[in-house]
Symmetry: C2
Subunit: 323 residues, 2 copies
């Protein structure tokens, strides 16, 4: 089978489409025949900075058909449509950019009828991340206001739709060319993030946000604190360093700041299973209560283009790979 | 009656013991005859940086006897022993460093028999703060480990005792001269905070803390993140600016950082009432399950000494004022 792998970390050109042996599922794994995979920034970051296990097959998300099930697997059988995420973590050498991937059952859920493989692969990692940020950490409630940085991005556009689906009011930032589309996903207001008065505009549009979702690599901590209302939650999904210039302001608002990593669910035994979250995300997509947008699709051979695009290009939604 | 007031913010010498008219309680307030008050850093900070309403009577905490009750007060009557906190906030011009103070009933609880007025005044603000940090925000559980900066301080020494009282394991920092005393309050280990390897020692002693309580004015954010374990809570009670040098480390631990201010409970209508928390603190002290340490006592006339000591001196526990 083909797999897109790297043997050393580095630029996009370390990626190779290689011919590998088809893996065998362990007792608690299923072998999935890939019909769609999606690209996430973490895939490119790992490729640049180094994965714990090399060679590494790139790719976190997969949707496909069960080709074989391990000896202890009794709830998935050959031919089942499934989707999964978490394959980027150090636990795995094998990711989703391959004709087949082995997946532990805690990372997997059935893909409902009426949900494309492309949609399943596209929603998996970003959807689980948004779920954890908004539900598990921030306990976002109907009628609450959520301020979402980058409402056209992979995480951001699902966050907008998910906040709307649970009865909250999303306010997002985006470049002007995406404003209509982000409004179409459910945003009550969309703010150009290049505005000088971004913070003031966000405070006005949200009235003080109950939740701020910060998935941007730069440091927006001060904006997050300024936009959050009293008792608000700030979920931080990215970034390398952060400065809180005004700790008393954050304290006077009694803010809860949630530091999150998309990888933790697949690495920590006491973290909640990914499967049940994917299961619910799948239902929301099947019932048209949550939309995942696919900007474009590449064939597996062009995985390097997907890796380049995820870090360098601006687009709406997700980029998907197919066999 | 006498009141220790300031008409302008500034150094300790702005404090004046003045002769004022005894206040009248409003419909939902009680008039408390002060038997003890305690000094907290916030009192000195407000005096230095300016209170919203001037002139301001200094002092946040009070314990005493009800001298009169407002028309709508039916659960407190003349002669009742009570204690209260929150009198430092902008809502009040009148604080606790006076012969009498008016107190809204939501800031008040009965002082149980067997609890001194001095103990009641000493435990009030720091106890409510610790309760919120450990119970409301961090949901500290029995068997969990709490790392407490400054285990000899006003907040810290109550935090050590409170963590032990709820079945958790406190590990604290303190100067060597306080180690025995802090161990006596319930700390499983005490670490000299001047050690070069403070972080490593704290990680070893806690095994990765479930809760870090950071009540220090400097920025210990990086230490907090390093000492916290996976899924840990960091409660930040002080500080002006903070830098998280390693956001990915904090994210990979899935930390929840709680920014808290001791003033919020008394200023925000949707925050929990102080009274019920004080009520429980009083029971713990009455039952000898929580100890509050009083380092020394000054008469009201020497309030300036208390203001100076709280910012400049190192001591164990609390400093109390009496009439």
């Amino acid at each position: 089978m083909r797999a897109v792998r790297y043997h050393d970390c580095g630029e996009v050109n370390v990626l190779r489409v290689e011919d590998c042996e088809r893996p065998e599922p362990a007792h608690d794994e299923v072998l999935v025949e890939m019909r769609a995979a999606s690209i996430n920034p973490i895939d490119a970051i790992l490729r640049e900075q180094g994965a714990p296990r090399l060679p590494k097959t790139t790719g976190s998300d997969i949707a496909g058909v069960v080709a074989a099930a391990g000896a202890d697997v009794d709830n998935h059988e050959e031919g089942d449509r499934v989707f999964a995420t978490g394959l980027h973590v150090g636990r795995f050498g094998g990711g989703s950019f391959a004709d087949f991937a082995v997946v532990p059952t805690d990372l997997l859920a059935p893909l409902p009828d009426g949900v494309d493989f492309e949609e399943g692969a596209a929603v998996a990692l970003v959807g689980v991340t948004v779920w954890r940020a908004m539900v598990h950490h921030a306990h976002l409630e109907p009628g609450a206001t959520a301020f979402i940085h980058g409402g056209n991005g992979g995480v951001g556009h699902v966050a907008v739709g998910f906040a709307a689906a649970l009865g909250a009011t999303p306010v997002a930032t985006a470049r002007p060319e995406y404003h209509d589309a982000v409004r179409g996903l459910g945003a009550a207001a969309v703010i150009d993030y290049t505005r000088d008065d971004l913070t003031e505009a966000a405070v006005e549009a949200t009235g003080g946000a109950d939740l701020v979702l910060d998935a941007l690599p730069g440091t927006y901590f001060d904006t997050d604190v300024a936009v959050a209302g009293f008792g608000g939650d700030v979920s931080v999904l990215a970034g390398d360093e952060a400065t809180l210039s005004d700790v008393p302001a954050a304290r006077s608002k009694e803010l809860d700041i949630h530091m999150m990593s998309m990888s933790n669910l697949a690495t920590h035994p006491d973290a909640p299973d990914i499967g049940p979250i994917l299961d619910r995300l799948g239902r929301l997509v099947a019932e048209d209560r949550l939309e995942v947008v696919i900007d474009r699709t590449y064939p597996l051979e062009d995985a390097a283009q997907a890796h380049r695009a995820i870090m360098e290009e601006s687009f709406l939604g997700k980029i998907v790979l197919t066999p």
